[in-house]
Structures are given as C-alpha cells and as structure tokens.
C-alpha cells in the first residue's frame, strides 16, 4: 500500500521536474501548500498538465496504480482536488482507497 509520504514524494518529484526547466527566479515552492490550480496557482496550465501527467505515470509505473486524476469525479467537485499539493495527495489516497 502506498503511503501518504510516498504520494507526496511523487507530487514533489513532478514539481521538481518543472523547476528543472525554470530559471532560478521562477522556481516553484515544492511543499504540500504549493497551489497547483486556480487564481493563486504557482504553475501555468502547461505546468499543471505536466504535473498531473507525471504523477499519473509515476503511480502507474512505480506502484502499478492505474488512476486517472482528471476523471468526472474530480472535475465536478465544488472544492477542487487540484487546489494544492496537499489536496491532490488527499484525492489520490481517496481514489486508491476506493479501488
């Protein structure tokens, strides 16, 4: 069973990958409170897509978890699961628990 810390590490890895492509002054804070989506987002739409894709791929390749993070359930929520790294992690754990 994947742990909360392992999910965090995957999300942080995706954010770190984005940072590798950014100049020093544009580095994203890599933490559970990093805003991923919405008006306060630290990343643009391309970056957001990259993070979601990287996280899905890592969950699948490293843990054998075939999870779609952009499913109807996520998109129809009043409270976006993509708001921050922490809400994304919680959503991932919720999806895994439901499998």
């Amino acid at each position: 069973m994947i742990t909360r810390e392992e999910v965090d590490a995957i999300i942080f890895g995706a954010l770190a990958a984005l940072n590798e492509e950014r100049v020093p002054k544009d580095q994203i804070d890599v933490s559970t409170s990093t805003p991923l989506f919405g008006v306060d987002a630290a990343i643009d739409s391309l970056g957001f897509v990259s993070v979601i894709s990287d996280v899905e791929l890592a969950l699948n390749i490293d843990y054998g978890l075939d999870i779609s993070l952009a499913d109807d359930r996520a998109l129809s929520r009043a409270q976006s699961p993509y708001a921050t790294a922490e809400t994304l992690r919680n959503y991932i754990l919720e999806l895994i628990a439901d499998q």
Binding site: S53, L57, I61
Partner: protein, 242 residues
C-alpha cells in the same frame, strides 16, 4: 564510390497503429529498415517478425487499454519520438442503410483512437521536449464521396483534432500534422467499388494512385527534427485540396 547513408531513424522509438496490414505494415517496415525501434498497435496478432519490432494487441478506441500500452512502452523504452496514427476502418455504404455498429466502430477507431493514442504518446514525448504526431488522413475528408458519410466525417474530425492538439502540444516541442492520402493499393481500397476509385483518381490534378514512396516522403518531412516549425498542417497527396 558511394557510401551507405546512416539509417534515418536510428535511435528513434516509433509507434505505428494498424500495423498488421496495408499502409501501417508498410510504414512499420519502412521505419524498421531505417533503423527505428518500432512499436505496432493492432487489434490482431503481429504480422511482423523483426528484432526491433514490439507488438501490442489493443483496440485504439479503448482509452484504458491505450493508456496501459503506453505505460508498458514507457517501462521498456522510456520514450516515444514519433507516433503515426494509421489505424482506420472503412465501411462504404449509403447512409440510410449504414449499420449503426459499423458507424460507431469507425468513430471509435478513426477518431477516438487517434485522440487516445496521440495524447498518451504526447505524455511520453513531453519529457524529452520532442515529438512528432503524424495523422494519416484521407482525401475523403474533403471530397466527401457518396457512401463514405461516417468515414469522411471521422477523417475530417481527426484533422480538426490535430489542429487543436498542435496548439496544446506545441509548448512541449511536439508537432502534430496530417498526411492526407489519396488512394493507395491496399486491402482498404478493396472495400470500395473499383469504378468509384477510378473516377476519383481520374479527377485528381495528378491522376494516379499514391505509392508508398509518396507517403514516406511526407512522413520523413513531418518526422524530421528540422520540421520543428511545421505543425497543424495537412499535406494532401495527388493535388487534392479543400
């Protein structure tokens, strides 16, 4: 004295859909001859035996199955450089008597299959900031032949899809283009009445069937690293135009 040229696609990982026969088989053989690692996706068993060829049996219209295949490709090869969306189904029959399952099958393979394969490939291409998505289109999309209602519409839809994907993928170094084939001597052509094919060919500015070389020429152009500024384009063979 001439020296043999380096293979054009040495070191490249190329995914081709619909490789069991027809144009897909020709393309797979071409990329293999030119040094690529080729991954073929087809619903049936492989018809190619080559050390650089991997085959996955998959319905490209099944989103989850396509996703699983690309995860497997990522595990084994770690990348995809070029994807050719070739798989297509053609049922040519008057709209009033077109069986609904045939219509749905064409929509699923010719349109949704292109979407699912392109997006999963792009997820892997993105990591290397390089990718070439090549869609095999059809003159039917613009000539709108009688009997090809759904087929032509799926091909037109996939051209529009390529335009949007070109915008969405551009930031990742991925180009997205369509090669619109006139008519090539394959089993798919046998699905159509010969006199109908002959009449269409006779109406083209260059009134002959396409050859594999005509197709490889445009594929090479789209796939080339030098074509990084070419995206959202459709090249029609034989002088077909919209």
């Amino acid at each position: 004295m001439t020296t043999p040229q380096d293979p054009k696609y040495a070191g490249k990982v190329v995914v081709v859909t619909g490789t069991r026969k027809g144009l897909g088989r020709m393309l797979a053989d071409y990329f293999l001859d030119e040094g690529a690692q080729v991954i073929g996706l087809s619903r049936g068993e492989s018809s190619i035996s080559h050390p650089n060829y991997d085959h996955h049996r998959v319905d490209v219209g099944d989103a989850a199955a396509v996703r699983s295949v690309f995860v497997a490709i990522s595990r084994v090869h770690g990348r995809v450089d070029i994807v050719v969306n070739n798989a297509a189904i053609l049922t040519s029959i008057h709209a009033m008597i077109m069986p609904a399952p045939r219509a749905e099958e064409m929509l699923r393979t010719n349109f949704l299959g292109v979407f699912y394969v392109s997006r999963e490939a792009a997820k892997l291409m993105r990591k290397h900031k390089f990718g070439r998505v090549i869609n095999i289109g059809s003159m039917a999309a613009v000539l709108e032949p009688v009997g090809d209602s759904v087929y032509a519409a799926t091909k037109a839809a996939s051209m529009t899809l390529m335009g949007v994907l070109a915008k969405e993928f551009a930031g990742y170094g991925i180009t997205v283009n369509t090669l619109s084939v006139s008519a090539l001597e394959t089993d798919m052509l046998d699905e159509l009445p010969r006199e109908k094919v002959d009449a269409v060919i006779a109406s083209l500015p260059i009134p002959r069937l396409a050859t594999p070389a005509d197709i490889f020429n445009v594929v090479d152009f789209f796939a080339s690293p030098e074509s990084s500024y070419i995206t959202a384009q459709t090249v029609f063979l034989g002088g077909v135009h919209s």
